[in-house]
Symmetry: C2
């Protein structure tokens, strides 16, 4: 398999979401034009991105939705369930516990943790909040792979350290700070401020000579 | 100014966050190596990305933090305050109303709206929740530029339509669905599922022949 640029990975995820919509609409076939429209990129970009994932689609007759879904899931590592814990059960952690659609891609919420004893025992969504001291045992018992880090910035590094010590190897970091992790652990930031800044970049660009590549 | 690739925009945002940390530490100078370490990319990538923003830094002597912050803010459209509304005051909307750091980059929360009359009048952070019917008047009165869309998927398109009709031109979309917007309106998705999928792509890649470009 060719090496896949990070920006392409982000778009593959978007195509997979568009394909889920097509599946809901019971469409069996699609085209690069259709995917481009739904993902708000060019059809050329769609074809270029999908070429990283192998050869499918027949010239002029488009793509089989089911085949494309299967190949994108394979490329994105979505061929087995992933067990996810939520670390930090404030409003954001609670919102995530109730967020729909995670299980659609086999992301299964398997634990909710907080350092605040007053939150322990609280039921949110399908989970009961446990104390962080229970983390090592829970990670092993429930085969937890990934965690949402939803603690305040000041607590993020120590909470991440606790997750990693317990055996978690992937962290989706919602805390508004960067965290250091050892080799072998992956962090993806979910940065609301960064989303706003991408927005203002594009909005500002319309009013200046700056332009964005397709 | 040269055209700036979308992936570069995302990294510029990350460098700006790293620079904010350096400012907090009262560092006056930095280097591509230092920024690379904090942003978890290569120093070559940092130099290449910053080259899109103009010429600064003297060979061998690094960058002035304050100069770099000013230039990145200019490129990212952060030279004036942006007024932001929150549309949908469930747990996620409430979490965002309390999220720190937005005002650090002059994103000023200026309204909180919900279609549920029972939420109207609720005080969250510095705001009192208003009914969506009040949106058109509020957008004009408070010069609201941007909105967080934090409603359920099924309500996302109609809520976005209401925002756009009221004059909002940029939407950070937290709803787990894609929305259609007219030309002249920009949407940036904040997709928790996509974050998980980027994570599993990178974690899966270690166990297969797939590799990620630097």
């Amino acid at each position: 398999m060719a090496s896949i640029p990070t920006a392409t990975v982000g778009r593959l995820v978007t195509y997979l979401r568009a394909l889920a919509e097509l599946e809901e609409e019971q469409s069996e076939k699609t085209s690069s034009d259709e995917l481009a429209r739904r993902a708000q990129v060019s059809a050329f970009q769609v074809r270029k991105d999908l070429a990283y994932c192998g050869r499918f689609g027949t010239r002029g007759s488009g793509y089989q939705v089911a085949v494309l879904v299967r190949e994108l899931r394979r490329v994105l590592g979505l061929t087995r369930p992933w067990h996810v814990a939520i670390m930090g059960m404030g409003r954001l952690g609670q919102a995530l516990a109730d967020y729909p659609n995670f299980d659609q891609y086999d992301f299964l919420l398997r634990g909710a943790f907080d350092a605040d004893a007053r939150k322990v025992g609280m039921v949110v969504g399908s989970m009961t909040v446990a104390h962080v001291d229970a983390l090592p045992e829970a990670v092993t018992r429930d085969a937890i792979d990934l965690a949402f880090l939803t603690v305040p910035a000041g607590a993020a590094q120590s909470a991440a350290d606790a997750l990693i010590a317990a055996g978690v190897r992937g962290i989706l970091n919602f805390a508004p700070t960067m965290i250091d992790v050892p080799d072998g652990v992956r962090v993806e930031p979910v940065d609301f401020l960064a989303g706003l800044q991408r927005l203002t970049f594009h909005m500002g660009a319309r009013a200046s000579e700056a332009a964005v590549s397709p």
